[in-house]
């Protein structure tokens, strides 16, 4: 069977398209690359959606935590504390359990026990809490002159936030936030590893990698392939974040900027 054929058969296997049965013997490198790659679709899906939705929620939570109003502050603090304070797999466990219970009472919640929605929600809350704390930390290190000038010019509420605080906050938070984004993508491997059930062998990259490791008893092929895919994904994440970072820092003096450009993006 040619590799192209394998790709056609298994390229979208993680979504349920293509061959119904996974390869069972004579595993080729092509099999492994294709299936693990197919599993990456789920990692990317979970990562992107949780990241984007989590970003907005994190901003709200960070503002809540920085707010002098206890009605906003307390819930935000507790939210961050709860989700930052517990391991993700416990969150998956309770999340799954919670959705299962809901489902037995309201039919509306049926999709929530499936990974695509249930795990996404857990990941969303998790990343919102972590990013929220990062943003909160950044809020605390904004140069006071910037905020003062905004105050003095009567910038208030939304405008003060959007025009002065937010950009500076993002700029300061960005390196840590990049880390968080990477962690999030890595955390998506936990979804099927210890959390939500995989239906009809539709799993993520780690699911297929461990499938192969289990079948070939050789961890040195599938896991490095998985690692390779993730390094690729991480490099993409880092470069996208790096572009944003460059934009956030575009006001830095020319000299510093030139130095930044000499550094390949992947290290940020």
């Amino acid at each position: 069977m040619s590799c192209w054929q394998t790709i056609q058969d298994y390229g979208l296997r993680s979504l349920g398209w293509g061959e119904r049965l996974l390869p069972r013997d004579n595993f080729t490198l092509c099999d492994q690359f294709t299936l693990i790659g197919s599993g990456m679709i789920w990692n990317v899906y979970f990562g992107i959606f949780a990241l984007v939705s989590g970003f907005f929620f994190a901003t709200l939570v960070a503002l809540g935590k920085a707010s002098p109003n206890p009605w906003l502050r307390k819930p935000s603090e507790w939210f961050i504390f709860l989700f930052r304070g517990s391991p993700l797999f416990i969150q998956f466990f309770f999340g799954y359990f919670f959705f299962l219970t809901l489902k037995s009472h309201f039919a509306f919640f049926s999709p929530f026990t499936a990974a695509w929605l249930g795990a996404l929600i857990v990941l969303f809350l998790n990343t919102a809490a972590y990013s929220g704390e990062i943003f909160y930390g950044a809020l605390q290190s904004i140069p006071k002159g910037d905020v003062e000038a905004a105050d003095a010019y009567g910038l208030s509420g939304w405008n003060r936030f959007r025009r002065v605080i937010w950009p500076t906050m993002l700029r300061l938070a960005w390196p840590a936030y990049t880390n968080e984004a990477i962690f999030l993508f890595h955390a998506t491997t936990l979804v099927f590893f210890s959390g939500f059930p995989a239906w009809q062998q539709r799993g993520d990259a780690l699911y297929y990698a461990s499938y192969f490791a289990d079948k070939t008893f050789n961890p040195f092929v599938p896991y490095p392939i998985l690692a390779g895919y993730f390094i690729l994904l991480t490099i993409i994440v880092i470069s996208v974040f790096g572009l944003i970072n460059a934009r956030l820092n575009r006001h830095l003096p020319q000299a510093a900027k030139r130095k930044i450009r000499l550094r390949p993006n992947l290290i940020r």
Binding site: F81, R84, G85, S86, P87, L88, F89, I90, F93, F94, F97, Y130, E133, I134, G137, L139, Q140, S141, I142, P143, K144, G145, V147, A173, W174, P175, A176, N179, I182, F183, F185, H186, A187, T189, F193, L206, A209, S210, A213, F217, N218, P219, F220, Y223, L226, A227, F230, I231, L232, L233, T234, I235, I238, L252, A255, R263, P264, L266, I267, R268
Partner: protein, 293 residues
Amino acid sequence: MFEYCADPSQLEGFRWLSCYLTTGKHMSLYWSVVTVLTLLAITAPVALAFGFAGASAARSSFFPLRWFGKAYIALVRGVPDIAFFLFFVIALDQAIEYLRHKVLCPDWEEPIRQGNDFVVCQAAKMPLSSAPQWVHESYGFGIAVVTFAIVFGAFAANVLFGAMRAVPRAQLETAEAYGMSQRQTFWRVLVPQMWVFALPGLSNLWMVLIKATPLLFLLGVEDIVYWARELGGSKTPRFTDYPHGDWRMWYFLALLVFYLLFTRFSEVVLDRIMARLTHGQATTGGEAQRKAA
């Protein structure tokens, strides 16, 4: 544990619970808490040191060193910790034994790789197979520390690298203008000022590190989650004196409480450090501190 525990099936309520919670297996659970805390206590400084070295290397003006630092940060950060743990530990272990083999058994004829097998001479085994169990466990623990430190060191390096860049140019420039050497500027101005920018990122990393301890069992260290899962699973009367249904829920709740308490404790400590660092600084945080005072 207690004398009345001889026949648990006759016990009820508190007495039953007191016997149940003091079985040898539960003792292992409690012991694993110590293991996990020890691991964290050792890993954190080691990872920070790795991070510091990585960040400094990535800033170095010496090309190969810079390249190495950047490759370390980029590659290790790219791999999910689970995937890393699933193959790296075995690889690391084999690498160590391979080196020892080369040194200790120079006149060994048989190949090291025999088909699928990786076989080194007895003297090169790490630890020796005749070593007592605790040596094996400590070795496993040590490997776990190193692996964790390598992984989290890469993230720490990234945070520190970013923090070093966040220090305003003018501050470094001034140091240079006063004739401080690169080295002095680095240690006297850059590093002290960097912490305030690095701390939020490092705190976050610490939180992630705490939450990564459940992966320890992948490294052969039996951690709290391993025991909670083991103890919480339903038990039939055939294999235990304390049969029960699926109690994972309760064990996980206990874990949750443990992690939350530990997090809270960490936060208090980190907040203190942060408060000290922001004291008197021209930032929102410093300003809030002043106004609150």
